[in-house]
Symmetry: none
């Protein structure tokens, strides 16, 4: 027994190795794309980074565009997972719980974006300039985040701990903008984790207190 079977269990050893190589290629492509940019990266660069022939690449991915999809898919999946994890909108019933929830989500996103600035670079800068389809997919992430946020707001408004006149959709979009600000901050000063934390905190206080003196 070598442990429990993973969901993407590969039966044969060959199958397993193949799967591993695929993932290594995706990783290598991510590294090259996020560093040199999609257009300045050649298939040969990716292959060379792995020490494989560049023809081998085409045994695993249809073409250059294909690998990009896989890179982006992986990143999107990680983010969606962080957004969704144990974060059902109706699991929160008070303002304090919601604040706590926001902190948790904020922390999870920080975990991803601050830990590796290349993620934001890849998604925001590179992936949005290839073609409409991919741009759509990345921007769709913001829609998803907006929808999730809106669901929380709706829930909170119904339970009464959020403003009754809250424009659920519009505010959700604005709040997602604050998340974006954090990503940009990570792009600009990758090393300054403190600035990123302060921006996140300021965003939370903005949400719950506004800026005006009371």
């Amino acid at each position: 027994m070598t442990g429990p079977p993973t969901t993407t269990q590969a039966r044969t050893r060959a199958e397993r190795l193949r799967q591993e190589l695929r993932e290594e290629i995706v990783t290598a492509a991510f590294e090259e794309f996020s560093q040199r940019g999609y257009h300045d990266t050649g298939i040969a660069d990716i292959a060379q980074r792995l020490g494989i022939g560049h023809g081998t690449f085409y045994r695993h991915f249809k073409n250059k565009r294909d690998i990009l999809d896989h890179v982006v898919d992986g990143l999107l999946a990680r983010i969606l997972e962080a957004l969704a994890a144990e974060n059902a909108p109706d699991a929160v019933d008070t303002l304090d719980e919601y604040v706590e929830q926001c902190r948790r989500i904020s922390g999870a996103l920080s975990e991803i974006f601050s830990a590796d600035p290349r993620v934001a670079r890849m998604l925001l800068l590179e992936a949005t300039s290839i073609d409409a389809e991919l741009t759509e997919r990345v921007l769709g992430l913001f829609d998803t985040a907006t929808a999730l946020t809106a669901a929380y707001f709706m829930h909170g408004r119904e339970l009464g701990y959020l403003r009754a006149d809250l424009d659920v959709d519009g505010t959700a979009r604005a709040v997602v903008g604050v998340i974006l600000a954090n990503l940009l901050q990570g792009l600009r000063t990758p090393a300054d984790r403190e600035a990123q934390r302060r921006t996140a905190d300021a965003g939370l206080r903005l949400m719950f207190d506004g800026i005006a003196r009371r």
Copy 2:
């Protein structure tokens, strides 16, 4: 009355035609770049759109990268102008005046971004994927906006109409995120001006009221 002479007045007729063509090329390049993307646009595409020979392009711009700089410069200039116009931080002395100020800036930005969704597309999606220098220039715009916002916050905190414990820098960054949300909204649903207005309004209310019930 033909109006006051423009600042870039050209004396001779040839000079004027030359200047006009330069500007037409910049416009055509903007249109192509924002639509097909920088990498998928050839110099020939730009020239064809104007009905000029592609060699003519090179009489006016050094190379493909050069025209991109001019396109971006023009857009950045328009935005900076909108941000800076009659908007000195210390011209505002009460919360109401500041809210009004914010509305005005928000409106001016809407004027630019909502009127032409290609501006945001060009700056956010295309210009950020060419090289580090240009990315820097575009992202620098956010720094400028952040600095301006921070100046307002500082002023408001001193005059007492903003929270005394306001994290000026962090909050400024978060608020610029709200502007970003508006840009994104314009990218996603260019035709839906109402959605854009609601996002902008929600952003303002977020700033001044937060979301929690009082």
Copy 3:
């Protein structure tokens, strides 16, 4: 009266100015061609050197190739003149006179080639790589020199002051090679006039004494 009329007398003032400009263009082209090379020189470079529009060039010369012909013609004419000047083969009747004649010709050529290393550069290096016709014309100069030399040899052999078994044609070609040696020397060390003089002297002694001890 402003002096005696030149052979290429121009009647009108306009005609004269035109002629002067033509010559200036030829000179400028020579300077550019011999320095940057024919292919690396643009019509615009030549025009710029004179401070005229490059369209003007085409009012005076058919095309780029045309001006090259004129440059080369001018140089060839100067050289042929030096070779031919008061140097009729039958004006020499003794070995001493012939030696003297050779010295004079050698000196005249030095005057041209050593005074301006660009002449040799232009003729030997540039003009021989454009097309067959021009190469032919430059190499034809050597035929002319050979023919002239052969005439001297023939005359000397008949009058008895040269070897009776002299291979007139072959030797003439070899002797022209000695002249070539001088040109090369000028190309290699343009500043070292002394080396050029020694090469020339050595060539003469080679002709009249050979190298073997007597």
Copy 4:
């Protein structure tokens, strides 16, 4: 018996094919360059001559200039080999031996230049008009020849079979000029081997007898 392995023996079959193609490209480039001229030859011409795609060219040579270097290098190597082979200056101790030596070198050069007039055309006409570096390399060949000749003269002067007052360097340069004359002769009348032989012989007699009657 398939003969001894060449020095550039390639182990694997792929290695060998690659090497062969490289050499074929060099040969094809030589043919095109010497015939149409460097500037009038496109990479496509070279590729077409071999029936390969023009992209293939760039798998083997960095750029157009690179292949020219290789072409010239090959020619220079052949000539230097001919000059140096079994031709040590101090292996000659009498005038007769030296004459014999000169005949041998002259013959070896004829072998190269008369056998293929394109060699002289390539080196003298084409290669000298590309840039300073390459011109330098070709003209350097004459320096080498001059130095070798000078070494012979020095040796002969010391041993007494050459004139005691011989200007070793100047004369060496003049003699190399005679070789040049032979090359030119080959360029002018490639088919007339007899004329080339006569020029060479005349050159030798010039060296050892001069032209004057004794």
